[in-house]
């Protein structure tokens, strides 16, 4: 156990020493890794913020309310009065005849509509409430549902759905981008480690001859790859936080112009740790591939 700890400690220390002993190389590698991680991670943060924005400002919301089929003109008028009194916002009335006519105009529907014995469509109101907070909408929906001769009330969330679909698409694109940059990161580490193995060929050869196991020889390179990746991840987090703080003022101004109150959310400690972790894992993977290939020639 002690020997095991001592060996891992020594490998980690040697990884630090190697990073420290070539500051320019280290800086360049960290920049490459940092930037490769920054792009997808920054996209993720932006999307995350955009989704929050979508939730808080859910745009133009509509409530569709459908009357019973047997509702009379008088009863429709009664609802109209109630809407006026409630002063919930803009609204318009869609008579069932109009609705049928619109349906008839649609391609291929004319014959079907003509074959119907009577109009199956109800009278309807479309309301655009002034208060579009989700809770207020829900309260309004419930209230309207209690009115006489109302068959069905529907919250139209098409806009939210479209926005969600957009976010999903953007996320997918982001994942693809992330995969490409992850491969890039692995390749960068691969190359760094390959050069190191070449530079330390003498040490590796001697260590092999005097009884070093494969694990002993590989360990410092794994630590190096993981350490470099983790530091690259932290650099990426720093770049993102820096960019967000630069964006904070203009975003605030823009939000104020729209009468909103919106600020960008910075990555949390957990997200920063995760970024460093992803960097470390990819670095380790690159080191693993590189060492496996480079050490073959020592056999």
């Amino acid at each position: 156990m002690n020997a095991w700890l001592a060996q891992h400690g020594a490998a980690l220390a040697s990884a630090f020493r190697r990073l420290w002993s070539a500051p320019l190389n280290t800086l360049l590698s960290l920049l490459v890794i940092g930037i490769a991680l920054t792009l997808p991670a920054f996209g993720y943060v932006l999307l995350d913020n955009l989704r929050d924005l979508g939730r808080s400002v859910s745009g133009v919301q509509q409530i569709s309310m459908f009357m019973n089929l047997d509702a009379s003109k008088k009863e429709v008028g009664e609802i109209e009065n109630r809407l006026k009194q409630a002063a919930t916002g803009k609204w318009r009335f869609v008579p069932k005849e109009d609705a049928l006519k619109r349906m008839q105009d649609s391609e291929g529907m004319a014959e079907i509509v003509a074959s119907l014995p009577r109009n199956p469509l109800p009278d309807a109101f479309i309301v655009e409430p002034t208060n579009s907070e989700p809770e207020a909408l829900e309260i309004l929906r419930k209230e309207i549902a209690g009115w006489p001769k109302i068959a069905h009330v529907q919250l139209d969330s098409a806009w939210v759905k479209r926005f969600d679909a957009f976010i999903r698409l953007a996320k997918l694109a982001l994942w693809m981008l992330a995969a490409i940059f992850a491969a890039g990161l692995v390749a960068v580490t691969f190359n760094t480690i390959r050069l190191q193995v070449m530079a330390q060929a003498a040490e590796i050869e001697v260590a092999r001859m005097i009884g070093a196991t494969d694990a002993f020889i590989r360990r410092p390179f794994y630590y190096f790859g993981a350490l470099q990746g983790a530091l690259g991840g932290l650099l990426a987090a720093a770049l993102i936080i820096g960019a967000l703080s630069l964006l904070a003022a203009p975003v605030g101004e823009l939000a104020a112009l729209y009468g909103g109150n919106f600020s960008m959310r910075s990555p949390s400690i957990i997200e920063v740790t995760a970024l460093a972790g992803v960097g470390a894992f990819l670095g380790w993977l690159g080191a693993q591939l590189s060492v496996s290939l480079s050490l073959r020639k020592f056999d």
């Binding site: 002690n2 020997a3 095991w4 001592a6 060996q7 020594a10 003498a202 040490e203 050869e205 001697v206 260590a207 092999r208 001859m209 005097i210 009884g211 070093a212 196991t213 494969d214 002993f216």
Partner: protein, 216 residues
């Protein structure tokens, strides 16, 4: 301790460096492998250290048959040996002390203990005063002594050397000779490939004389 029977090594291309060699080396013996250059001395040393694999025959070290040895077991086999190479194979990017510490790091000895033992080994070969020197600053004889310190620091059962005084002047060579003899005296098995006749005259060791790959 080291038993070879009908041992042969043929290199790719057909050159047969060791031909049908049989011998047994007992623990605590001093054994010289002699012969003209190209007789197969180096190859025999490499076979014993599992740096080369035999083409045929068997070689048993410490009860382990090297032909059947798994690749992952080789490092542990090599830890039985203190190896001294003809070209020393010192690492020139680090101090004498760090060179000697390498075998101890490989077995995972705590740093403090490793430093203590490495200094003791340097003291035995008379290099303690030069512990901070880089190998490039050492003379040929000192470099060879440093290589010996690295070989013995882990207290191996067998000291295995390939032409340890090949490129040295007479004084340095005889110093090396005395160091090997002193390890033999405290019970270490010493196996040395050399063409230096002084060994035989002074210590009357067991001799394996090779000629064109075979024992003569």
């Amino acid at each position: 301790m080291i038993v070879a029977s009908n041992l042969s090594k043929r290199y790719p291309g057909g050159y047969e460096a060791v031909k049908d060699v049989s011998f047994a080396i007992e623990a605590g013996q001093m054994v010289l492998i002699t012969g003209h250059s190209g007789a197969g001395k180096s190859t025999l040393v490499k076979l014993i250290a599992a740096i080369e694999r035999p083409t045929s025959g068997s070689l048993v070290v410490n009860g382990q048959n090297l032909s059947a040895l798994r690749r992952s077991a080789i490092p542990y086999l090599r830890r039985n040996f203190g190896m001294v190479f003809q070209d020393q194979k010192l690492l020139f990017d680090r101090s004498a002390l760090d060179n000697v510490m390498l075998p101890l790091q490989i077995v995972g000895l705590p740093r403090r203990e490793a430093i203590r033992r490495a200094q003791a080994a340097l003291d035995k070969v008379g290099l303690l005063a030069r512990e901070k020197a880089k190998p490039i600053a050492l003379s040929g004889g000192e470099q060879q002594r440093l290589a010996i310190a690295r070989a013995v620091v882990n207290r191996p059962a067998v000291l295995l050397a390939d032409e340890p005084n090949g490129n040295l002047d007479i004084d340095s060579a005889s110093e090396i000779l005395e160091i090997f003899a002193s390890f033999h005296q405290v019970g270490v098995t010493v196996v040395v490939a050399t063409h230096d006749q002084h060994w035989i005259e002074r210590y009357h060791p067991n001799v394996l004389r090779l000629g064109h790959g075979s024992l003569v």
